[in-house]
Amino acid sequence: MFEKVLIANRGEIALRIHRACRDMGIKTVAVHSTADANAMNVRLADESVCIGPPPPRASYLNIPAILSAATITGADAIHPGIGFLSENGDFAEVVREHGFVFVGPAADHIRTMGDKIRAKAAARELGIPVVPGSAGAIASASEAADTAARIGYPVLLKAVAGGGGRGMKLARDDAQLRALLPLAQAEAAAAFGDDSVYLERFLDRPRHIEVQLLGDGNGAVVHLGERDCSLQRHHQKVLEETPSPGLDEDARERVCAIAVRALERLGYQSVGTIEFLYQDGEFYFIEMNTRLQVEHPISEMLSGIDLVREQLRIAAGEALGYRQSDIRLCGHAIECRVNAENPDDFRPSPGRVAEYLAPGGPGIRVDSALYQGYDVPPYYDSLVAKLIAFGSDRHECLMRLRRALEEYVVGGIDTTIPLHQRLAADAEFRSGRYDIGWLERFLAG
């Protein structure tokens, strides 16, 4: 096992990785920008190196500085955390070229899954269902109608060359489709200089379901069940839970089996997640994350498996050492992402934490780098704490969550704790009947 791991990240995830290292008796090196000199992970690390000024490009994305820090501290391995360089295949490669272990999968796997088009093609090859659509550009209205009849309405017309909603049209039947096709083509031409459009089934109320996976690169792949991350605002996850209240046992087994089989075929070596949209009993590939995820703790709560430790063990070349049948997922867990933001208008709220008191007691875990007197810097993303509640069932979990949210004190800055308090008290959320549009409707209502 490694003697010393450099953690190339900041905030709560840097602290999370530090904790996993210390739990394994591994020394840690914190690298940090000047803005994070007083961060908790820096204070707790065995060694620390300031690698640049606050802008991420000059520090947390500064590959030469990170490699130099690893050199002068004599680290064995570099853990990229989440965000920043964690999905940069070139970084993985250069880390390895410099003789360090990169705590993550093969660079090629990172690159493939980081490219939307290659990832979708790879998913198809790996037997993962994707959203049905036309094979390529639609040549005529009758071809569009035939394709739509095959994949089923409603369908979405999308520009081949573009993204971001330009040239995108929703058709609910044949008549609408025929009327909208020329409009979509004209918009696509205007926006991207190419009038090619293609067709895709439109999912109007899907859930976001993802499967947590571990592979050791020697054929062993297991899953830790699914997570439901449907509560999103502007495509950002806000609250996650496992198991999903929207899946039955059959659907759960089906999606986990699909995901495990795909990683077996890929020979994947690290932790990873495959994300799906789920509607009407069917799963459709969104993307694969070739790294740890923010919401990983809820899977840890159910499985008792420390995912960061497993990631380090796998990176050190160890075999998983257990099979799917050895893993017992029990109970229910929910994570609230606490952001330093105004809970009503979501304006970021950096500044000094005047009061800090984390909740405790049974079934409550807090992953946060906050402390009283800490200055939340304005340069980075606003996630400052993850409150994780565990219970033997969803009801117990929700009750503990609500109680912990009552206890949680973060003074001096705005946080999204009040939003989570509203969610935890909401009857519809508590019923578990929500899709990826639900939270935005809840906030608008």
């Binding site: 000047t34 190196v49 000024p53 130099s68 304005p378």
Partner: protein
Amino acid sequence: MKLGGRHSPLAPDPDLIRSLAKLLDETGLSEIEWAVGDQRIRVSRPVPVAAAAPVAPQAVATPGEAAAAPAGRNGAGPAATNGHEHPGTLKAPLVGIAYLAAEPGQPPYVKIGDTVAEGQTLLIIEAMKVMNQIRAPRAGRVSRVYIGDATPVEYGTALMLIE
């Protein structure tokens, strides 16, 4: 930068530092050191050699290292870490191993008391097998060398004082 060994989880108290800084101003001292139990704090401020008497604040831009200055209210600049605040302080612009001489056994590029010209090489920082020459941001006299030869440096480490 901390290298090796275990740490104390206690952060220095910024208010304490501020009040000690004020005491420095008030008393004209250049250094205060204070210890209680196994905790110790020291603050110091270089007193300009040519101006021992109190002088009006000088409006000197930090030369060639604007990025190293504390950025915004949350920026804990490296200066806060090592206490070297003089505007003539030359700070490491990158992480690596600092060498004072071109090769082992050779005389150092500069030594204390030397007068240097703007752009003159003062030391080298090796990063990723590349030797980066660190040059004088302006002409002046080398009044302090804060590091030894072959020292690991982090971003913002005070290297020399050029007055």
